[in-house]
Amino acid sequence: MRFIDEYRDAKTAEQYAHAIAHITTRPWNIMEVCGGQTHAIVKFGVDELLPGEITLIHGPGCPVCVTPVELVDKAIEIAALPGVIFCSFGDMLRVPGTEKDLLAVKAGGGDIRIVYSPLDALAVARDHPTKQVVFFAVGFETTAPANAMAVHQARRQRVANFSMLVSHVLVPPAMETILASPRCQVQGFLAAGHVCTVMGYTEYEPLTRKYRVPIVVTGFEPVDILQGVYMCVRQLEEGRAEVENQYGRSVRREGNRLAQQLMVEVFRIIPRRWRGVGEIPQSGLGLSDRYTEFDAEKRFGMAKTVTEEPAECISGEILQGVKKPCECPAFAMHCSPEHPLGATMVSSEGACAAYYRYRRLRQAETIQPGRI
C-alpha cells in the first residue's frame, strides 16, 4: 500500500540504521513527543535498530494519558446523568477515573457512544433534540480544528442541545516544561508530525534558540522515525540546534492557516493540568467567551475539583522521560491494561501500555526467530 509499505521497508530501515550508526560518536538522548510515535517505535522495534549510544525517551504526547483525572471524573458524572448522550473517541472510554471508567457507566445504562468525528456527535444532537448531547473534546492541536468546527457549526445551526467537555492540550508549552526542568535529559526532539500539520513549526523555532536543542518534525512510520532520528543526531553531532522538517509530505512551515483561524475563533489559551505532570501555564485550550454556552462544565454546573493521583504511579516521570516503564515497581505487577494505575497504561499510545503489549518479558536474545 502506497505511503505505508515504503515507510515500513526493512531494507530502507536498515540503511537509515547504518547511516545513524555511522554519524554517531557519543551518547544522545532524543525524545519523541507524540504517543503515536512511541507506539510505532515499540510496535515495530525501531529502537532495536539504533546504535547503543542513542536513547529514545518517550514524551508526553498521548492525549488520553495526559487528560487529568478530574476531567475524566467529570465526564463520568455527566455521562451518567439521565437524558444525556455522551459521545467520545473510543480510547477515552477505558481511562480510569477515581472510581470507574466510562465503559462502566455504559454497562450501568449510560448512553455512551463512540464517534469518529466531533461532527458525528453534532449529528447525534440534531437527531435527538430532546437529549443533551455532550462531546468529550480531547487531544492536542491535531484534533482541535475538527472540534472547533463542531462547536462553530452548532452555533451557526443553533443546535442548543450540544455541548463540549473540553480537555485540549498544547505541545510547545509541555516541551518547554521538560526543557526547563533541572532533571531534563532530553538533548533533541522528534516533534509530532500531525500537530505540526495543523500548527506548522514556527512555534518551535524560539525553543531551539533558547534551549539550544534540535527539533525535527517527524512522521509516524518506522522509516519516518529513523529518518527523524538521523536528522536529529546529525544536528547534535554538528553542534546545530534548528527546526528541521522530516515530514514534508504533510507539514508546511506555516501549517494549516484555515484550521488555525478556526481554533483562534472558538478556543482561548488557558492553563491546564496534565495528568502526571501537574499544571502547565498556557498549555490548554478552553472555549472562548463567544462559545461559552457550549461549555459542558458550565451547562452541567461541574465544580472545580482537583483529584490526587495514586502515589505509586510514576506516569509523571515517564511522561517527562525521566524513567522508563519497566523501572516502575508496579509495571506488569499490579498495573496492567486491565487494571491501570495511571493513564500511560491505558491508551495504546501510552508508553506503559506499549511496553506491556510489545515488550513485557521479551528480550530479543531469548527469542528463537523461527524459520519459514
Partner: protein, 350 residues
C-alpha cells in the same frame, strides 16, 4: 455423582468487575477470565477443560464433536454475508476445528417483536444455502419472541454435531516444537466489513466479509493423511488472540513473520484510519493449521487447491522457548511479542 459446592461469593470479585462489560464478550483477556473463573469453575469436567472450539465425545463407538455458538451481529446484513450465513458457517467451522466432519445443526431463533417477516425469511434462506454448501442438515430448532426493545431484531444460536473419522488428537496439546503454522488466506476482512457498515465509513471499495465454511478444506487435509496437530479459527480477537491461546495452552513458543501474513490493501487502509491492528480483527472464514514442518508443503498445496485456501501461506513456526508466548518478526526485521488484548480494539483519537 458427587455434588459440587459452589461458594456463595461470585468468583469474579465485585472490586474487579461488578457488571458485565462488552469486553467480556470480545475474545480477549476479560472473556478468558470470565470463562476460567466462572464457567469452568461451575461446570468443571475434562471435556470442557480442553477448552477447544467444541467438545469431543465418545458415544457408542463413534467419536463426535459437539459445539454451540450464538450470533448477535449488527447490522444483520453486511457485504459478504448476514447473520444467517454466520450462524451456519461459524458452527460448522467450530466442528471443523475439532477435525470433525459436520453433520447436523440446531437453530434457536430469538426474535424481537416487530421484526419484518421478510427480514427473517431472507436470513432463513441464506441459512438454507449455507447449510447446503457445508453439507449439513438443520434438524431441530426453537423459536422465541421477546418484547420490542428487548432484543436487537434477531439473535440466533446454533449447535452442531460432527463425526470424527480419524485417530488424530487435534488440540493445542498436540502442537510440537518444529511445527509449521499455516494460514488459509488474508486476515481482517470480516471485522472491517462489519465496522465499515456499522459506522458508515465509506472506503473506495466495499470490504466484503470472508464468511465461509472451511470444513471442506479441513477434510481435504485429513483425507490426504496430513498429520494435523492443531486447528483454530480466527474469529473474535483475530489471528493474534488465536495464536496466543494456542501458545498458552500448548506451553510452547509460536513465532510468526509479519511480512508473511496477508492483509488486503483495503482492509489495511481501513485499519490504518481507525488505528486498528488487522491481526486482532475478526475473521469468519480463516483458520490456522499446525502441522509438522515435513508436512507443510503438502498441506499448503492441498489448501491452495481449494478456493477458500487460494491465499494459503506459512506464517511461522513453533519453538520451545520462550514458553507460552507468541513473538513476531516485524516488517522492519525487529522482534516483539504478540499479546492478547484485554477487550475490544478501540478507535484512536488521532
Amino acid at each position: 455423582m458427587e455434588q459440587k459446592q459452589l461458594g456463595i461469593n461470585c468468583p469474579i470479585p465485585i472490586s474487579d468487575y461488578p457488571n458485565i462489560l462488552l469486553a467480556h464478550g470480545s475474545g480477549g483477556k476479560l472473556m478468558h477470565q470470565l470463562i476460567q473463573k466462572m464457567f469452568l469453575l461451575a461446570f468443571q469436567n475434562p471435556k470442557l477443560e480442553a477448552r477447544h472450539d467444541g467438545a469431543i465425545i465418545n458415544l457408542g463407538g463413534a467419536k463426535l464433536a459437539f459445539t454451540t455458538d450464538s450470533y448477535v451481529v449488527r447490522p444483520l446484513f453486511f457485504p459478504g454475508g448476514d447473520i444467517g450465513t454466520l450462524a451456519v458457517n461459524g458452527t460448522v467451522n467450530d466442528l471443523a476445528m475439532c477435525g470433525a466432519s459436520p453433520l447436523y445443526l440446531s437453530a434457536g431463533f430469538i426474535l424481537e417483536e416487530g421484526l419484518p417477516m421478510e427480514t427473517l425469511w431472507r436470513v432463513v434462506q441464506s441459512m438454507q444455502r449455507a447449510a447446503e454448501r457445508a453439507h449439513v442438515e438443520l434438524v431441530t430448532g426453537d423459536t422465541k419472541v421477546v418484547d420490542k426493545g428487548k432484543g436487537d431484531g434477531l439473535f440466533i444460536n446454533t449447535s452442531g454435531v460432527g463425526l470424527i473419522k480419524h485417530g488424530l488428537s487435534i488440540a493445542p496439546a498436540s502442537v510440537q516444537p518444529g511445527d509449521a503454522v499455516l494460514l488459509n488466506g488474508d486476515v481482517g476482512r470480516h471485522g472491517m466489513a462489519i465496522m465499515a457498515v456499522r459506522e458508515g465509513l465509506a472506503f473506495e471499495s466495499t470490504i466484503e466479509s470472508d464468511s465461509a465454511a472451511v470444513s471442506d478444506l479441513v477434510m481435504a487435509l485429513l483425507d490426504a493423511g496430513v498429520e494435523v496437530h492443531c486447528l483454530r479459527d480466527l474469529t473474535r480477537g483475530g489471528l493474534a488472540s488465536a495464536l496466543v491461546e494456542i501458545a498458552e495452552a500448548s506451553g510452547l513458543h509460536v513465532h510468526v513473520h509479519e511480512n508473511a501474513i496477508p492483509v488486503r490493501e483495503d482492509v489495511q487502509g481501513a485499519c490504518e484510519i481507525l488505528g486498528y491492528d488487522p491481526l486482532y480483527v475478526a475473521n469468519e472464514g480463516r483458520f490456522v493449521t499446525f502441522v509438522p514442518a515435513s508436512a507443510a508443503e503438502l498441506a499448503l498445496a492441498i489448501l491452495r487447491s481449494h478456493p477458500l485456501g487460494a491465499g494459503a501461506c506459512v506464517i511461522g513456526s513453533v519453538n520451545e522457548n520462550p514458553a507460552c508466548m507468541v513473538t513476531m518478526t516485524s516488517k522492519i526485521g525487529t522482534h516483539r511479542i504478540v499479546d492478547m488484548l484485554s477487550g475490544d480494539q478501540l478507535p484512536r483519537i488521532c
